[in-house]
């Protein structure tokens, strides 16, 4: 059976071409005549050759005739380029695969944590070295990061703490008024803000603000091979990039926590005055009498630990960025989620610890 093909055998008209070719699908022998074909591109050539293969696969005959020189050449190139069919591994969904998946995920999580600990060790080792050679500390970089992480974060941290104080006072007032125990609102605000909320929420804001910035900055340097360049120039990336950031965090996070404590108390005091009529003087007296200074210290003791967590996680995830832009975005979000998660875990462990030692 002869089929005279005509028109344009091109990718945009592949469906019409398929219809033309399938006219001879039932015949045992078919000859495709390309004489009247106006244009042939690789897609058209591919379709012709696929059809030919199908005929041959079921023992039929299929010939392609009338191709111009260029068309014959194109057919030849396409014929030689069609890749062999690969056996595609089917996705499996058995119980064992699920188990395998869970196992691998768990293992990856554990080894990831071990790697972060390794990174922490490397940073501490470098810190020890710099402590012995104080002139190697990048003072300019340290001050820059202290300003960036600390000073520039004061407005947002203050606003957050003020609102937390207001909310605590308001919610406490509603409950405590039922017992006529309005004055205890001072204890409520002071203990919760000083001991937990002030520093915890500050750490969360800093993780979102600065932790993410660390990952993005170090990650994009890694992507553009700047870190490799540093190493070839004899600069230690941990010393140059990680130490100033982590140290700056350790210095300024307690200060930010202190700001949050004070502003939180002011917000709480203001709301108590408006809502419950607890005057600032009374608030102050009550604060002196019944709130131990340890509540304040417990909050601040935690700050450097949170700082280390945020700094190490942020820098470590940045160092893990590979050559593509996608990993930068993925790791930046991992960095924020992981550091907030670890900060909360650490906070819980501190609670248990302080409960045991009884402060």
């Amino acid at each position: 059976m002869d089929i005279n093909l005509s028109g344009r055998l091109v990718v945009a008209r592949l469906e019409e071409v398929t219809a033309q070719l399938s006219a001879g699908a039932a015949a045992p022998e078919v000859t495709f005549d390309l004489t009247a074909v106006e244009a042939l591109d690789t897609a058209g050539a591919w379709l012709l050759i696929e059809t030919q293969h199908q005929f041959q696969a079921r023992g039929g005959q299929c010939e392609i005739v009338g191709a111009s020189h260029a068309q014959a050449e194109l057919l030849e190139v396409v014929r030689n380029s069609i890749p062999e069919k690969l056996d595609k591994a089917k996705p499996r969904h058995g119980f064992y695969d699920w188990l395998d998946h869970v196992g691998q995920k768990t293992w990856r999580a554990i080894s990831g944590l071990v790697e972060i600990l390794g990174f922490l060790g490397a940073v501490i080792a470098r810190l020890g070295y710099v402590a012995l050679h104080p002139r190697r500390l990048r003072l300019t970089s340290l001050v820059h990061h202290m300003q960036e992480i600390g000073l520039n974060a004061i407005p947002i941290v203050s606003l957050m703490a003020f609102l937390i104080g207001v909310v605590m006072a308001f919610q406490g007032a509603v409950q405590l008024r039922q017992f006529g125990a309005e004055v205890f609102v001072v204890d409520l605000i002071a203990i919760s803000v000083l001991r937990e909320l002030g520093i915890l929420l500050t750490a969360i804001i800093v993780a979102g603000r600065s932790g993410a910035a660390f990952t993005a900055a170090i990650g994009s340097m890694k992507m553009r091979e700047e870190i490799d360049a540093m190493q070839t120039l004899g600069l230690d990336p941990i010393e140059v990039l990680v130490l100033p950031r982590v140290l700056a965090l350790i210095f300024v996070l307690p200060l930010l926590g202190f700001v949050a404590d004070i502003v939180g108390l002011v917000g709480g005091g203001l709301m108590s005055w408006i809502e419950l009529g607890v005057s600032p003087g009374m608030f102050q007296t009550r604060l002196y009498e019944s709130v131990d200074v340890w509540h304040y210290l417990v909050g601040l003791i935690k700050a450097p630990f949170f700082a280390v967590i945020i700094g190490i996680v942020g820098c470590y995830e940045g160092m893990k960025v590979g050559g593509d832009a996608e990993s930068l975005g993925r790791l930046t979000s991992t960095s924020v989620v992981l550091s907030i998660f670890l900060v909360i875990v650490a906070d819980a462990m501190f609670s248990i610890f302080f409960a045991i030692v009884g402060v």
């Binding site: 592949l14 690789t42 050449e73 380029s81 069609i82 890749p83």
Partner: protein, 257 residues
């Protein structure tokens, strides 16, 4: 071959702030030829390519492709023309979140309504045609070497069998053997598929091996166009240095000029 240009650039002026890159630039590209665009760093070779494909809006002048004025045509008309060319960027510019095959399928998915099986088979064919092994199909761009990324970028540019192929420094950063193989590949695809190739390059070997005509950018315009033989006779310091310098002699020409 009819000598009617399919790309006509007239009186083009590109400017970034006060910095004028092109001034009154004219260029013709004819159907079925391989045009090599050369010029020193900062003479705006890539800017010219980007102006033609519409990534940069020139200050003045006109760019017409297949007789359509690209700067004044309607969105639809421009899109119809854009389907008839493919662009390969310097480092492939592959989408990093997609595998090589998915990258090649992107233009097909957007511009045609081919069934998924056909798309897949055609993508695999294109990937094989540019000389990548079949196992490259499912890899992500970050897992490929620079040369392989370029080939994958070429496969994507060829996905819809374009009539014009724009190449931005196709052989830069390849080893000499890889670069020569890339030249051969482009020439082979050009002859079999009847492509018109607009190629920005620094590679004297490529110019020699596959370019039918060369356009030299200098003094903010296309200073001269012509074959390799014509270039050797040009009496302009930069052009002379370019085609008669030590590297040109090493590439095997310029000695007779």
């Amino acid at each position: 071959m009819a000598r009617e240009p399919i790309i006509k650039v007239r009186n083009l002026r590109s400017q970034f702030g006060d910095h004028v890159v092109h001034d009154a630039l004219d260029l013709d590209v004819y159907g079925g030829e391989v045009l090599g665009v050369v010029g020193g760093s900062g003479t705006g070779k890539s800017v010219l390519l980007r102006s033609i494909v519409g990534l940069i809006q020139p200050k003045e002048g006109s760019v017409s492709v297949f007789g359509t004025d690209m700067l004044r045509a309607s969105e639809d008309a421009r899109q119809r023309i854009e389907q008839r060319w493919g662009v390969m960027f310097q480092d492939g510019a592959l989408f990093s979140s997609l595998t090589v095959r998915e990258n090649v399928e992107v233009p097909m998915r957007e511009q045609t309504d081919l069934p998924a099986d056909t798309r897949r088979a055609l993508a695999e064919l294109k990937i094989s045609m540019v000389g990548l092994p079949p196992n490259a199909c499912d890899k992500y761009p970050s897992e490929l070497s620079g040369g392989m990324r370029k080939r994958a970028g070429l496969a994507r540019a060829l996905a819809l069998d374009p009539e014009i192929l724009f190449l931005d420094e196709p052989t830069a950063g390849l080893d000499p053997i890889g670069a020569a193989a890339f030249d051969v590949l482009i020439k082979k695809l050009q002859t079999t598929m009847g492509l018109t190739v607009f190629m920005v390059t620094h590679d004297l070997d490529s110019l020699h091996a596959i370019c039918d005509r060369i356009a030299v950018l200098a003094e903010k315009k296309v200073f001269v166009t012509g074959t390799m033989q014509d270039m050797l006779k040009v009496d302009h310091p930069w052009v002379h240095e370019y085609f008669h310098g030590p590297r040109a002699r090493a590439a095997g020409f310029g000695t007779e000029g």
